[in-house]
Subunit: 457 residues, 2 copies
């Protein structure tokens, strides 16, 4: 048994296991299903439930006790959890919720429709827990208050070590991970901390006020979740206390919540760069995926129509210089690629707080960089077109235009995210089809302008 | 003073501070520079050093004591650290390195040239530390061994609680964060753990073998760093012990190292999606940035040339159907965007281990999705071209081709990352200009084929 449990760490849910669970559920073999589920970690069970049918998942949830199912629910994909909670009564949900840490409990409750949420809260008997959850529900989801849990270990500066250890033992029973012991004054104001290591080494008769560390990092309940994440990363913190305007200790944020914030942020940026507006997974419905993807494609369509209109304007050049038109996809592609490269570097720099120096310096550097890349690429293109079309002028016109297009694309790619950031808009939206589309249009316009000038000399 | 220290948490390094530090250094005011540096966290000082000149940074490093500078060095940007270490003797580096946790020490040593690395190691007097660092240097950087630190708290199953606490106090003095207490047998094999919470609540006279939890997650020294990161996230672990083939406890990985792995991985994927080959920052030199960006642009150039060649082949259609050529940037853009969207969803799914089901089902779903998007977009395009060119046939030819192009792009975008992943290649490379370029060429080819067929009826 111990060996079994130990093995879960390298175990991946495989199809055989899922099939085995399914046939046992179909055969209504409660004992065996229970036995299998008992062997696995709740995160693994959540994965299994995501693979089997909804009715089968409900079967498993009703079979297991709430200590385990609460954690499973917490791990489940939001879509599936919503469907399962729909099938549970307010009383049943309350039974699950009280087993969880307050932050996870509040997260689940926040997903429920208003009226069901109220009903579930009414069913929570522990008045303190009820108040805690209601408090957490009131904070903005993306604030420190929305991230924190009420579970923490705090001691009063006026206790002695023995008294403190006694109180802590009680408190620790409710806290999954102790991390730091926070020290408060008589009014519950955060005044310092007591490290576990120090506690292990402190003689029993000492007074807390004489052994605590009066230096403690904290964030405010209204601080932005992403800022808290950056801060905890920068200062390598595994937990941080959260205080209100009066410095009253309200809760604690732990690093595992921060890991989720970082992952979500990275995924959002990645999806924006790829032209996907909202959080979707490959398993989502075709309709959801369309809703996330179509707006960006529509933007691309408008860009393409714009490019076509521009080319229509230059139709007169078609007779003598048809080859110019053959290179429009190349020009559009290069403008798009350079723009995305430039903006991605800025977006990442902004996310990591290391975009320094003035906008002008940055634009100048990007211009130099784009010019360097442009000249190298243009030389290759010049040789190719010259060899293909046997016309140096055309080759020159296209190559010189390419350099100009690349420089402009680089500048737009650098400027737009900086501009958006200054206006308080997430600069990551500048990396996707947005920049590609505008660069397509600008690129083709610049291309024909310059080519026209060179070829008419 | 306490208040000062407390404030650092919301403090951002500003230009005034940097200028103040610079002028104090120029005035050689050692006392005042020291006083300022003493007030800030090492992560803040690292940020300041990244802002000032290299000579000024060296000045600060030589001024502060190694307990603080070692942490500062560890936080610095790799480029700047390299330059600073170049200016320190082997003995000076050794003095810094011994102050760090073994994993950070090994990371810094790994960056040094082979001969300097050897010289630094020779200067480390503590034989145990020397052996630990040498062991860590031998592991692959991207393996669990490369991530772990030797610092941990372990107790022998044969000790009693009192004996254990005594030993632990000693061990804890060298460990920044205790997390878990690992239990080993007489041969140093990992057999379980003792939670800090349990320890706080355990009576003193108990034997460890009777109170320890014989269930402990662990990873193998050769396990891939990314897999360890996924695992620690999935099971919400804040630390995990690392064992070798004989189950000997070799070290411990903590969540803060995992946060770095997750961030690096996300940044790499993001940069690949944006067409940037290697880890660059906006502050890097133009040459470094060119090296990271030019290869992808070159790929785009080849794609554009390919598209031009295809269009050259269809030159005969130019006379009667010039408008077809005006929409090639649109076709290329749509093919590229759809391809990137599809592949990004697959890449993200693969990274999160939630791409399930057969490849065929997935391709079929993507085909349906692309067809739905394609039809919607094509309808708009049809109306526009019809109104613009007053030619229903041309409008129909372009619109139908667009649908075909979108479907093919979606299939390529889905298939390529799955294929690469099967072959053990990082599927993230499929999201960038790679897929855009191939889709540009395929898209334009399909477009002209279909348009030709429709228009020649």
């Amino acid at each position: 048994m111990e060996e079994d449990k130990k093995e879960h760490i390298t175990f991946k849910i495989n199809e055989e296991l899922v099939e085995q669970v399914q046939s046992l559920i179909n055969a209504d073999n409660k004992a065996k299903v229970f036995e299998i589920m008992d062997e696995y970690h709740y995160a693994d069970i959540a994965e299994i439930l995501e693979e089997i049918s909804f009715e089968q998942a409900i079967y498993v949830i009703k079979l297991l006790d709430s200590e385990k199912t609460s954690d499973i629910l917490s791990e489940l994909d939001e879509d599936i959890r919503e469907k399962i909670l729909d099938n549970l009564s307010a009383k049943e949900i309350a039974k699950e919720v009280v087993e969880l840490d307050t932050d996870d409990a509040a997260d689940i409750l926040a997903e429920l429709p208003e009226d069901k949420q109220q009903k579930v809260i009414e069913k929570i008997k522990d008045e303190e827990l009820k108040a805690d959850i209601q408090e957490l529900l009131a904070y903005d989801e993306h604030s420190a208050g929305g991230l924190m849990a009420k579970e923490l270990v705090k001691v009063n500066e006026n206790w002695n070590v023995t008294q403190c250890v006694g109180e802590m033992r009680q408190q620790a029973a409710n806290v999954t991970r102790v991390h730091s012991i926070y020290v408060v004054d008589k009014d519950d104001r955060l005044i310092g901390r007591l490290s576990l290591k120090d506690l292990l080494m402190a003689p029993d008769h000492y007074q807390i006020s004489s052994v605590y560390i009066p230096k403690v990092d904290s964030v405010h309940v209204d601080d932005d979740a992403e800022e808290v994440a950056k801060l905890m990363q920068k200062y390598d913190l595994e937990a941080i206390p959260v205080i209100d305007d009066d410095k009253i200790l309200k809760g604690r944020i732990t690093i595992d919540d921060i890991v989720d914030v970082i992952k979500e942020e990275a995924e959002k940026d990645y999806q924006l760069a790829a032209g996907i507006t909202q959080d979707v997974e490959s398993s989502d419905s075709i309709l959801e995926l369309t809703r996330a993807r179509l707006p960006w494609l529509f933007l691309g369509l408008i860009g393409g129509v714009g490019a076509a209109l521009i080319m229509g304007d230059f139709e007169a050049m078609l007779k003598d210089h048809a080859v110019l038109f053959f290179f429009t996809p190349l020009i559009a592609a290069m403008a798009g690629n350079v723009g995305v490269q430039s903006s991605a570097i800025i977006v990442q720099g902004l996310a990591n707080d290391d975009v320094k120096g003035s906008v002008n310096t940055r634009l100048f550097k990007e211009m130099l960089l784009a010019a360097l890349n442009g000249v190298i690429l243009a030389m290759f293109l010049l040789l190719f077109i010259w060899a293909w079309e046997k016309n140096l002028y055309t080759a020159l016109a296209i190559s010189v235009s390419l350099i100009a297009v690349i420089i402009v694309a680089g500048i737009i790619g650098t400027f737009v995210p900086l501009f958006l950031d200054k206006r308080g808009i997430d600069p990551a939206i500048a990396t996707g089809p947005f920049i590609t589309t505008s660069n397509d249009i600008f690129g083709i316009l610049i291309y024909f302008w310059i080519a026209k000038i060179i070829l008419q000399i």
